[in-house]
């Protein structure tokens, strides 16, 4: 109380008595209003942890017994339900297992040669072939039956292919030709190597690139590092950019020249002998040989053994 005033404050359904200056005023308070509506629901909580793994199921029932079926060269000395298998020996009329042998003299028809026996026979066969083993550091070219060492212009942008035979796998490190003594100006010659395709040049082995020919009577060569398997392959030569006077060492068309690897080959009996093949209009990098025609002249192309 202050200033002789008594204040009594009450709320809902109560009476408020406020004495002021020795006077009491009684005021009635109204009734409480209705309750408000409920608020919206809150968001769901986080997912709970995974439960533990269940127990292993029971073992299934035993299956029924199988039956063994045997086909040659397998044989079965047991039964269809209790097999005892083995493999028959092979013969010239029946498949089967064979005993390996290193022999190169056996006449057996029921044994098989080992890789060692094959190599022994292979090495011996080469001693009977009429070709010497190529020597390191020496230049070789296709085997022409006569010298016929002359200078020719040869066809522009024609690739000249010549076969070569090597008795063993050989690695070469140079591919070379010689400009003629009357050469003048500046020309471009491209060289490469091709695989044999049943008697004609086939897939490209190596495009060795080009050389710029600027001088007469000069050997031009490109460094290569190319291993060729034993057998026949082909050299390729093409003067792709003409000089003022085109002159290169090789053969002219003459009946006295022949290629020992090709014999007196020609499409008809002729005094002009096929020394190789030509492919016309080859202006850029080499690709697999195609459009071949026989050639009765070829430039000399040398390979040096590494």
């Amino acid at each position: 109380m202050s200033d002789n005033t008594l204040t009594v404050t009450e709320v809902v359904n109560s009476v408020t008595v406020t004495p002021v200056n020795n006077t009491v005023t009684v005021s009635e308070v109204g009734t409480q209003g209705p309750a408000g509506t409920n608020g919206t629901n809150g968001t769901n909580g986080a997912t709970g942890a995974t439960g533990a793994t269940g127990a292993t199921g029971a073992t299934g029932a035993t299956g029924s017994s199988g039956v063994v079926t045997v086909n040659a060269p397998l044989t079965n000395a047991g039964t269809s339900s209790a097999a005892n298998l083995s493999v028959s020996t092979g013969t010239t009329s029946a498949v089967g297992v064979l005993q390996l042998t290193d022999s190169i003299s056996s006449t057996s028809t029921t044994t098989a040669a080992t890789a060692n026996a094959v190599k022994t026979a292979y090495d011996f066969a080469f001693t009977k072939f009429p070709a010497v083993i190529l020597q390191s550091g020496v230049y070789y070219k296709t085997n022409l039956g006569a010298g016929n060492n002359t200078t020719q212009g040869y066809n522009a942008q024609a690739t000249y292919y010549q076969p070569m035979f090597i008795p063993t796998e050989t690695t070469f490190d140079r591919l070379a030709f010689i400009s003629g003594s009357n050469f003048s100006g500046t020309g471009t010659v491209r060289m490469g190597l091709y695989a044999d395709n049943n008697g004609v040049p086939g897939n490209l082995i190596l495009d060795a690139g080009t050389v710029s020919v600027t001088a007469a009577a000069t050997t031009y060569q490109i460094t290569i590092n190319q291993t060729i398997p034993a057998g026949v392959f082909w050299t390729a030569w093409n003067r792709q950019v003409a000089a003022t006077t085109n002159s290169y060492y090789g053969t002219s068309s003459a009946s006295s020249v022949y290629n020992l690897l090709m014999g007196n080959s020609h499409t008809t009996p002729s005094s002009n002998i096929n020394l190789g093949y030509q492919q016309a209009s080859v202006t850029g990098a080499f690709s697999n040989a195609s459009g071949l025609t026989i050639s009765t002249v070829v430039p000399h192309v040398w390979l040096r053994v590494a």
Binding site: I178, T188, M191, S212, T218, Y220, Q221, T223
Partner: protein
């Protein structure tokens, strides 16, 4: 093979003529005696 007994041998490196390499990729240039004279 070539009259005069001496000829030049010009050797290009692997790949042949190449303007991007020194001396257009010529790696050796020598005079050699002609063995076939």
């Amino acid at each position: 093979m070539v009259e005069g007994g001496i000829m030049k041998m010009i050797t290009y490196g692997i790949g042949g003529y190449d303007e991007s390499k020194p001396n257009n990729n010529i790696v050796e240039e020598i005079d050699i005696p002609d063995e076939e004279q």
